[in-house]
Structure formats: C-alpha cells, structure tokens
Symmetry: C2
Amino acid sequence: MRIAVDAAGGDHGPAVVVAGAVAGARRFGVALLLTGAEADVRRALADQDTSGIDILVEDAPETISGDEQAAQAVRRKPRSAIAVALDAVCDQRADALVSAGNSGAVMAGALLKLGRIRGVDRPAIAGYLPSMTGRTLVLDMGAVTDPRPQHLVQFAQMGSIYSEQALGVARPKVGLLSNGEEPSKGNQLVQETFPLLAAAPGIDFRGNVEGNDITRGVVDVVVTDGFTGNVALKTAEGAAALINATVRGRLTSSPLRKALAALLQPAFREARKELDYAEQGGAPLLGIDGVVIISHGRSNERAIASAVGVAKQSVEGDVPGTIARLMATLEPIPQATAAAG
Amino acid sequence: MRIAVDAAGGDHGPAVVVAGAVAGARRFGVALLLTGAEADVRRALADQDTSGIDILVEDAPETISGDEQAAQAVRRKPRSAIAVALDAVCDQRADALVSAGNSGAVMAGALLKLGRIRGVDRPAIAGYLPSMTGRTLVLDMGAVTDPRPQHLVQFAQMGSIYSEQALGVARPKVGLLSNGEEPSKGNQLVQETFPLLAAAPGIDFRGNVEGNDITRGVVDVVVTDGFTGNVALKTAEGAAALINATVRGRLTSSPLRKALAALLQPAFREARKELDYAEQGGAPLLGIDGVVIISHGRSNERAIASAVGVAKQSVEGDVPGTIARLMATLEPIPQATAAAG
C-alpha cells in the first residue's frame, strides 16, 4: 500500500510534513508518494532516516495558498501538490491522500478527480473528539456549511459505516447535535432533520444530543452541519488551551509548586495522552470515491504520522467501497420529504 | 433595590434557590421578592439566616415544567412563579427578575409582560466565557435559533452596550463567529451578516473569529446565532468536564500521587477560581424593556447568589435604558438590505 502525502501542505512547511510522513510510513509499514516542489522534498528527505522505506517523489511546483479560492485553485494548478497527489490516487499509483494543505482545495480536488460515491450528495469531514467513554465521531467538521436535512441523513449513514468499519463499533449510536434534548428543540435544519433520521434505514438514531454530550460519550456518532461542527470543535480546543494555560500558571507560581508539579509530570503526561488518544491527526473526507484524509494546517510531525495510519486503516477497511455498497442498498430519501427541507 | 427571584425555578428545588437568593441579597445589599408556592418558600426561608434582609414572598402556586410549551405556559398560568415575578417587575414592585426556570417561558413571559425595546427585533441571551485576557461576552446563547442578519447586527449593538455599560469595557471589539477568519468564510447567515456588521454604526467590528478565539480573548463581544452559541458553550463545558475528570483520574491513581496532588490543592483551587471568575451565574436577556437574568437550570446556591449581583449591576447601569437610547439614535437597517437576508 502506498500513501500519497501532500508535502507542500501545512503551516510548518515541507520539513515537518516529510518527517511525519516518513515516521508514519515506518510505524504503519506503508510506502509513500510525496508531492511538492521536488528540491524542497528531497532536502527534507535528506534529514530523515529513510532506510527500508519505499518512497517516491513527484514534482509539483505550483503552490496553492491557504486563502486561495479553493475550487478554482485546483483546476488552474494541475501541477500543485494536491492535484498531483490526487492524480496518483486516481491512477491507482497511490491508495490514499493525506493533506494538511488548503482543505477547501483538497475537497474541491477530490470531488473533481475522484468524484462522489453514488447516493451521496455532499461529502463530509468526520473528526474525533475524546469522550468519557472513548471517543465520539463528529461530522460534518466543515465541508458543508449549509446542508439540507437529507445531507445530514447521509452524514449519519456514512458516519455509522465509518464507525463500524474502520473502528469496530458494533451498531453505532447516532445523535443529532441540537440546543436541547427534546425533539422540538433545534434550529429549522435540526427540526426538519429529526423525523428524517428517526425514519432513516441503516442507522441507530438516539435523538438529539447537546454540546456537552459529545465529550460525555452518550452516542458514537454526532451529526451536525459543517459550520456548527467546526465552531464546536474549535471552541472545545480553545477551552482546553485555556484550562491548560491557567492550571500551568498556578502550578508554576512558586518554587515549591513547581517542584511538586514536576513530580506529578508523569500523571499530567498520562492525562494528556488519554485525551490525545482520540486525536487521529487527520479526518477522513467521507462520501468521496477514494480515501482522502484531511489534516489540520497546524499539524506537527506526530499528527501527520498518525494521519498516515488513519489512511492505511481506511484503505484496509475499504471505507469508500463499504459506503458505496450500503448507499446502493438504501432507498433514496423520497423527494417529497426531501423537498420539505 | 428589590430583585424578584423565581423560587420555583431550577433543577435543585426551592431550598437551593432561596438559599442562593438570600446569600446574594446579603452580599450585594438588595431586597428580595421571592415567588413560588408560599409554603415551600417559607419552609426554605426558615432554614436561612435572614436577619437584616428585606424579603417579601408572593404566592405563586402554579408550576411550569421544564419541557412545557413556553409561550403557552406563561399565558395559561398567570399564577406561576415566573408570571407573578414578571408582574412585580412590570408594576415596579421589583427592579429585576432572576430565574433558573424554563428559559423559554421566561423569555416568552418577558416579551409578553415587559415587551421589547424599540428598535430591537429579537432579544438575545448574553453569556460569558472565560478567556486568556479576562472574559468574552457571547450572544446569542439560545434565545433565537434562526436569526436573520439584521438580528445579529442588533445583537452586536446590544452586546457592545452591555459590555461597555455593565462591565466598563471602553469601545468593545466585536467579532462574528465563523468557521474561518476570512470574510468569505461562514454559512449563508454569516456571509450575509458580515457586510452589515462592517457598515453598522455603534460598534467596533473586527471581522470573523473562530471557535478557539472565544477563549483566546481576541475580541470583547462574539456575535452568533442562538443555536451555534448554545452548542459552542455546552461543548466547551463538556471539554472542561472531560479534562477535569481525566486529570483527576491520573492524579489519584496511586497513594503517592494523591498525596502530592493534595499538596497542590490550593493551586488547583486558584485555577478553578480564575476560570470561574467569568461565570456570572446568570445571563442577561438583552433587548427586553426590563432587567431579566436567566440562570442555568443546574444553578447551585453560589450561581443564584451571583445572578442576583448581575441583576443589581444591570439595574444600576440602567442597561435597558441605555440600549433604548442608543437604538433610538441608530438608523434603522434599510429594508432593502435587510430583505437580502
């Protein structure tokens, strides 16, 4: 298996991405295809121990910046790292793409070059948050900011399949993110989606869940629009950063505290690891006819390495094929109902 | 100054609310009007030291449950604790209402009995989150799940006034919650609201902010729809609870760790206090022609006491009057623009 990695993507530059890709390839036993400005990639590779790892490099001199108009960028720049890597997946010279680049461009490129799975109207980014009981899959994390009710139903179906297939959760419980548990709660989108989910085949729908239920772990899959999902994830990240900074400040406010806290470092490290366990370094773009893993622009070496593992898992579990088979067996959502949304 | 407190509201029953109200009255030097089933309120009062506090009790035997249809409940139950307390504010026998009851019923009752400030189309719940630089006001927290762009502009104006008037922030910076910083980011509502905010008088608009910016404290006021605001707040609460449980678990996993952690208890307490500083125990319902403070159903004694302080501050700062004066000076948002939303 060969994983294509967009070496030009990410805020930290090719050195970090290449180091992460090499570490991931070694850990998960996969081959690599690195795309990016060839000189940069080769220079970054020279700093790594690549012995025994099968690595191809493909030159992709065109760059797509973070704020570039996504859909146009990929069309206009066929020699960008994202486009070249997607071509490789398309031609089956690589089995999956990992990119920490402009996520809009990755999504647009994936739609353009790999296409949607039949029965899926909108692909969704499926990310994890840690929970009291393990971890919770949340989708969409930002692909579709204004979905319709029937899109959320498809998110629920794809999230269930991913949770079951790639992660071994038997009959995943699905919740609809809302501002209250009662079926009457929610904005218009949620209120229209609730009855569709309650009647949808292929999922175990447990009703509305609230923001704090994500980390409580009451369901396995939380469905929401990409705007709310993105805001919720980032707000949680912000809360964690604030708590971390505040506690650290108090634990280092005197020499005695510093000394005691130093003795407790292993405990804090364990807690951090427990919370990070859910972090996969990359979130699959579900609904695309191929394996595409979107990593955070801020991804460090460890995150990229972990994303390579997520990619491998999705390829091995044939997540796109499983979604395609299940969507084919499902009745399409009746247009009358869908139009009501 | 007399604060009306809905003694029947809240998940913990009258004893907790009454204890909190009495503690708040003592701390902030205000008189109380307690509404609820009189026998219950008197029984709860008997357990408190009420010496030197001016307390009136008004019987309100009808109960509104948490899941009752809000608008109807208040109309149909004029002898409920919420309705009786709002009547007292209306008749100026009390200066403000604090309620931890059915928030939908409080909002519906406030609209019915106190009315909206002229120029405000939708009242909003304004709550605080702690931040690296102090605290960030977020509105709306759940009053309006599907606002229009012009409603968000009014939220920005009311939030600015509250931040300035009740909290002494000079020229508060306002951000629009979105899934990216660029003006092109956001769902349809956010994209339509951005240019209106950029052109709106009376506010210092700084563009889009992301979820993690709330706790980073880059702006003083974050504007969002009530659905997203509610989900974001609860997701942050959930993240905090998970971190707390995880760290506690690791710090108590051996007798040595327990002993070391016990020595650091003051540091953890300080951190918690620093993070709780932002918690006001109650969020003002801005846009209503009167002071109405909505407390969480889960409010404990401390939260209710603190909410009494928030009420006092809003009365002293004449928040409703200040909003009314400012809204009167502002040009109404042109209907053509408003209709585009």
